[in-house]
Amino acid sequence: MNITQILFWFLSVVAIFSALMVITSKNPVYSVLWLIVTFFSISGHYILLNAQFLAIVNIIVYAGAIMVLFLFVIMLMNLNNETEPQKHRWLKMAGAVAGGCLLLVMVAALKDTDIKNQQAMVNEGTIGLIKNLGKELFTTYVVPFEISSILFLSAMVGAVVIGKKE
């Protein structure tokens, strides 16, 4: 086992464990914090694939900005065990069936893909470095990139309009 494999197993265990803790925690604040741990371990996986830019942006945007807003909302609403509405038993069962169906579909979809032939390039490849990524984004993928920029801009304008006082 070399260092990459050790790190891979470690990060995978952390990612799966923290992801399970997100959905099993009773306290929503704990769920948010475990989700942050999940983001960090996924960023670790990105670094193993040498996608450094993606890893750092994942931390800045998701762990650093979006989860802070999640925490804001949850802390201000002061959700806890007592105030959490108890769902009806049938509703829970329906949720379990729906989730099971989704799992079935995903397993079925993954069964036919040729994952075995497509090995991930670990610790090599330079496309994840910022220079190459920037070149690709502004040459090959410039149209989708600009379109998504316009999407973000319109979302920003919309947020300002909604947030503005009458």
Binding site: M1, V29, L33, I59, I60, G64, V68, L76
Partner: protein
């Protein structure tokens, strides 16, 4: 020496470097508290601490010892785990940023080059930003877990302040990155050593960055999270003993690190101004030592400015803070970015 295909010498080298940097951060932060009180005394025409040792230089040790031996109180209604996690997280995020800062010229030995930088990664400065953006959690978790409305309000103020000021900080930085064409800290320093410090080309960018650094460190005039007259004591109201010490200490480490980042990005890092030190033909370790001292002098200057501002300028109101961040600094940083891009395009055509 290889075990599990890991180069143990490499690990050892980095471990020593990390230990040195953490020790240095603690030492500097300790004596920044002393400097703060001395400078405050000087500005207010009084002596400042002068009892512990000559000129009071053992005052930080006395303060630290006092905090260690104070009674530790964890409020009954608080969330115990998160209450303890909060200050620890604040401390860790304050220390992690130092990994990408080049502390001096690399030491060249006959066995190889030892860089005085823990990790010279391609992402360099973005790592600093990611840690800064994660640094919010120490305050938020601590403030929420205290189960006190003042703590919570202060924590939310602090978090929204830090999130708001990250944006102009990043935008001001983009103009610097135009000039270097790289995010690597070592290349940013090398570029400044070759072409002159960035502060000459980007004075507006530096001012924006500096204002944002003040806000990110929760320093006056942006110390709204600890505004005593509105929020009693801020997000660490319920904390006592060394947990309080960690919060206060993390602030000083943040000051130290952000001074180091500013010195590296805008003031040439470990570069010695006006001279070509490579031509002196000094021993490599001596050159590293001198460049390290130069960086420390720059950092000391910034720390002094931080303290000077604290004892000179009164605190902003919260709406003024938000207006300054969103309505003034962000457009200004965008303008700075566009103008620098246009000028560079014009010069390079």
């Amino acid at each position: 020496m290889y075990l599990l295909a890991i180069d143990l010498w490499f690990i050892l080298e980095k471990a020593i470097l990390i230990a040195c940097i953490i020790g240095l951060s603690f030492f500097i932060a300790m004596y920044t508290t002393y400097a703060e009180r001395k400078v405050a005394g000087w500005l207010q025409d009084r002596h400042g601490p002068n009892r512990a040792g000559p000129f009071g230089i053992f005052q930080p040790l006395a303060d630290g010892g006092k905090l260690f031996f104070k009674e530790e109180i964890i409020p009954l209604a608080s969330n115990r785990i998160l209450f303890i996690l909060g200050p620890g997280l604040a401390m860790v995020t304050a220390l992690v940023t130092s990994t990408v800062i080049p502390w001096g010229a690399p030491i060249v030995t006959d066995k190889g080059i030892i860089p005085l930088q823990v990790a010279d990664v391609d992402m360099g400065i973005l790592i600093v930003f990611s840690v800064v953006s994660v640094g919010v959690y120490g305050i938020m978790i601590g403030g929420w877990a205290s189960n006190n409305k003042f703590s919570l309000i202060a924590a939310i103020r602090g978090a929204s302040q830090m999130v708001s000021y990250e944006l102009p900080m990043g935008l001001a930085l983009i103009a610097v990155l135009f000039m270097t064409g790289s995010l690597k800290m070592s290349e940013i320093v090398a570029n400044q050593a070759a072409n002159g410090w960035h502060v000459i080309y980007q004075p507006l960018g530096f001012i924006i960055f500096f204002v944002c650094a003040l806000a990110e460190c929760n320093r006056t005039p942006f110390d709204l999270p600890e505004a005593e007259n509105e929020l009693n004591f801020g997000y660490h109201q319920e904390y006592s003993s060394m947990k309080l010490g960690f919060y206060l200490f993390a602030e000083y480490i943040n000051m130290f690190i952000s001074s180091a980042v500013m010195a590296t990005l805008f003031f040439g890092g470990y570069d010695i101004p006006f001279v070509n030190e490579a031509a002196w033909g000094l021993e490599p370790w001596l050159l590293s030592l001198i460049s390290f001292s130069v960086l420390m002098a720059k950092i000391a200057f910034f720390l002094f400015v931080f303290i000077w501002i604290r004892w000179t300028i009164p605190r902003f109101r919260y709406d003024q803070l938000m207006n300054l961040g969103w309505k003034k600094l962000i457009p200004l940083a965008l303008l700075n970015m566009i103008i620098s891009a246009a000028v560079m395009l014009w010069l390079n055509k």
